[in-house]
Amino acid sequence: AYRTDEGQPWVLPVVKKVEQMIANDNSLNHEYLPILGLPEFRANASRIALGDDSPAIKENRVGSVQSLGGTGALRIGAEFLRRWYNGNNNTATPIYVSAPSWENHNSVFMDAGFKDIRTYHYWDAAKRGLDLQGLLNDMEHAPEFSIFILHACAHNPTGTDPTPEQWKQIAAVMKRRSLFPFFDSAYQGFASGSLDKDAWAVRYFVSEGFELFCAQSFSKNFGLYNERVGNLTVVGKDADNVQRVLSQMEKIVRTTWSNPPSQGARIVATTLSSPQLFDEWKGNVKTMADRVLLMRSELRSRLEALGTPGTWNHITEQIGMFSFTGLNPKQVEYMVKEKHIYLMASGRINMCGLTTKNLDYVAKSIHEAVTKIQ
């Protein structure tokens, strides 16, 4: 979760404003939402992912399912794919998850019934960057129709994203081999500070004619973590196909949670549908993204000034909330036990935990860990 420079959670000012509006509106009640969710939320959420000028939206071949966070969107998508993709109830369709990935990806697809969950090469520990050749090679050799979970931006946990050129190569292979793109978009806007930039990959795939799913989370970019606001965007060949897909997704939703929670969806819908509030929100998102970007550049410059062995440009080349520092498990143990700095055994740090007050301490500690422990 995001933290301010004081190390505190941050409720976005635009969210506070909109919540007050909702609280003051006596015409609102707590009635059930439709099964697929609040219509104004669904349309706006998908518009954010695909862009105002999206040809898919213009051609009326986009569907949306309001979901319980990004996780819920992934689960509904996974349940649908298991029932209807590549035949009926084909639990043998391989699911490819990046190595590494958010660990819950595996569980989501496993609990949805898929039996064959594999990894695709992604993180190159030696060069601390994307293993593009490994990734493309895995796609070349994946059984056709395999499903690939792609991180739309700010890859979790490595912070390493393909460049636009690399995405183009990925898309070309996927198209040729008939692989299904399932995007996980949990950080749109939060990664670079620009909604459009962070959605480039998803929009590129749409422009290349793919049918795809995109699981969106508004937990981070709206700071609405505990309200569970998410959306599954479905892009299909035409309106008729999308309609039938949504009707089947409705059945899945009905046995999972019946209909989604209304509070968070109302906040997002109200914000996105007002030009003024939308601008305010974009400003709040940029505030968060900029702070993270600042912490990255400050940490890197300190490590370079200290002469810490190794190269540290990956700290600023990586993007989003997380960074794969490259620290090995022993070095991590040193950080945790001796310096009381908590990070994952993988060397992943949450950049949001850095503040102007602790930057020096963290940089010095990393320096010690790297020089003392091999």
Binding site: A1, P9, V11, V15, Q20, A23, N29, H30, E31, Y32, L33, P34, I35, S67, L68, G69, T71, G72, R75, W84, Y85, N88, N104, S107, M110, D111, A112, F180, E211, S219, G223, L224, Y225, N226, E227, R228, G236, K237, D238, N241, V242, Q243, R244, V245, S247, Q248, E250, K251, I252, R254, T255, T256, W257, S258, N259, P260, P261, S262, Q263, G264
Partner: protein
């Protein structure tokens, strides 16, 4: 071509589909007796006063939006358990239970169904009363269980077929799962009397069945939360370690906020901890952690003496209005000159009433009178007001005389 060419159009949801058809109707006299959402005597949704107060309190506290734990808001789950089990419950006081927050009743039922599929290896069979809430079957089926039935509703008398139920239950294979509606049976409104519950408890004990209670209407049925939870508490006292799904959609009017809970009564606190850990493993890949808003509101109400008192009064008010509408419907039918026996309307309890109307009669009510209900003749009494009860009686008389 599309990946989805072979995907069939799903049938419209029968219950929620009624509301959709109602919305399209332009008849000024139209009545929506479909979905089970409470309406006040003006036919309007009712936001409880205690809910508004709780919301104001929450707004003033300026809380953050950090993720809840996977199992939900602790103050909420503890209060939900206490509400269901009773503050003097030995199971509650000893801590030999686990309660996790669920996405209202449906989500709580689904967590339980998934849990049983994974950990209750003795049987795949879930026995539902005939009839049951339409969504029970697909929930358990999607969780990987098989559905069976026991006799419950007697269409000849529009009341409980108790001997049929006891007969069927006596033959259920040991260690099967039996689902019981704690109160205000949906869709029939027919509940067992206390002496009948005692016999049911003895029978399920004898058959060594796993009991799954669905309690979606505590307080809403009789107006008394303790009375409505009597069966749940009795079973536990008889040493039956039940599992339980609760909803706060109706009794707190929190429908769209999705406040609910799933409880497992265990042998001891240690077992409860182990069960809890497994429930979390099931929840995480579904939606990670639950939504806070409804749980916060419910928790504040249950845990703040003044608000709790006000809530008990309001829930009784809702129950009383429904009971009064039942009474008025029967008297209006008599006034219309109906010669049928409509006693079941006042004998039944809760939001729903199984009128006994046949599908052809229901269709006429919809087409000729714009009175909307589900095909099984179920009406949501909550949709009846003193302003339209006369019209409803008239319409029913027209299609049944």
């Amino acid at each position: 071509s599309s990946w989805w060419s072979h995907v069939e159009m799903g049938p419209p949801d029968p219950i929620l589909g009624v509301t959709e058809a109602y919305k399209r109707d332009t008849n000024s006299k139209k009545m929506n007796l479909g979905v089970g959402a409470y309406r006040d005597d003006n036919g309007k949704p009712y936001v409880l006063s205690c809910v508004r107060k709780a919301e104001a309190m929450i707004a003033s506290k300026k809380m953050d939006k950090e993720y809840l734990p996977i199992g939900g808001l602790a103050d909420f789950t503890r209060a939900s358990a206490e509400l269901a089990l009773g503050e003097n419950s030995e199971a509650f006081k000893s801590g030999r239970y686990v309660t996790v927050q669920g996405i209202s009743g449906t989500g709580s039922l689904r967590i339980g169904a998934n849990f049983l599929q994974r950990f209750f290896k003795a049987s795949r069979d879930v026995y539902l009363p005939k009839p049951s809430w339409g969504n029970h079957t697909p929930i358990f089926r999607d969780a990987g269980m098989q559905l069976q039935a026991y006799r419950y509703y007697d269409p000849k008398t529009c009341s409980l077929d108790f001997s049929g139920a006891m007969d069927d239950i006596s033959k259920i294979p040991e260690k099967s799962i039996i689902l019981l509606h704690a109160c205000a049976h949906n869709p029939t409104g027919v509940d067992p009397r206390q002496e009948q519950w005692k016999e049911l408890a003895a029978m399920v004990k004898k058959r060594n069945l796993l009991v799954y209670f669905d309690m979606a209407y505590q307080g809403f049925a009789s107006g008394d939360i303790n009375r409505d939870a009597w069966a749940v508490r009795y079973f536990i006292e008889q040493g039956i370690n039940i599992v339980l799904s609760q909803s706060f959609a109706k009794n707190m009017g929190l429908y769209g906020e999705r406040a609910g809970a799933f409880t497992v009564i265990c042998s001891d606190a240690d077992e409860a901890k182990r069960v809890e850990s497994q429930l979390k493993i099931l929840i995480r890949p579904m939606y990670s952690n639950p939504p806070v808003n409804g749980a916060r509101i419910a928790s504040l109400i249950l845990n703040t003496p003044d608000l709790r008192k006000e809530w008990l009064t309001e829930v009784k008010g809702m129950a009383d209005r429904i009971i009064s509408m039942r009474t008025q419907l029967v008297s209006n039918l008599k006034k219309e000159g109906s010669s049928h026996n409509w006693q079941h309307i006042t004998d039944q309890i809760g939001m729903f009433c199984f009128t006994g109307l046949k599908p052809e009669q229901v269709e006429r009510l919809i087409k000729e009178f714009s009175v909307y209900m589900t095909k099984d003749g179920r009406i949501s009494v909550a949709g009846v007001t003193s302003g339209n009860v006369g019209y409803l009686a008239h319409a029913i008389h027209q299609v049944t005389k």
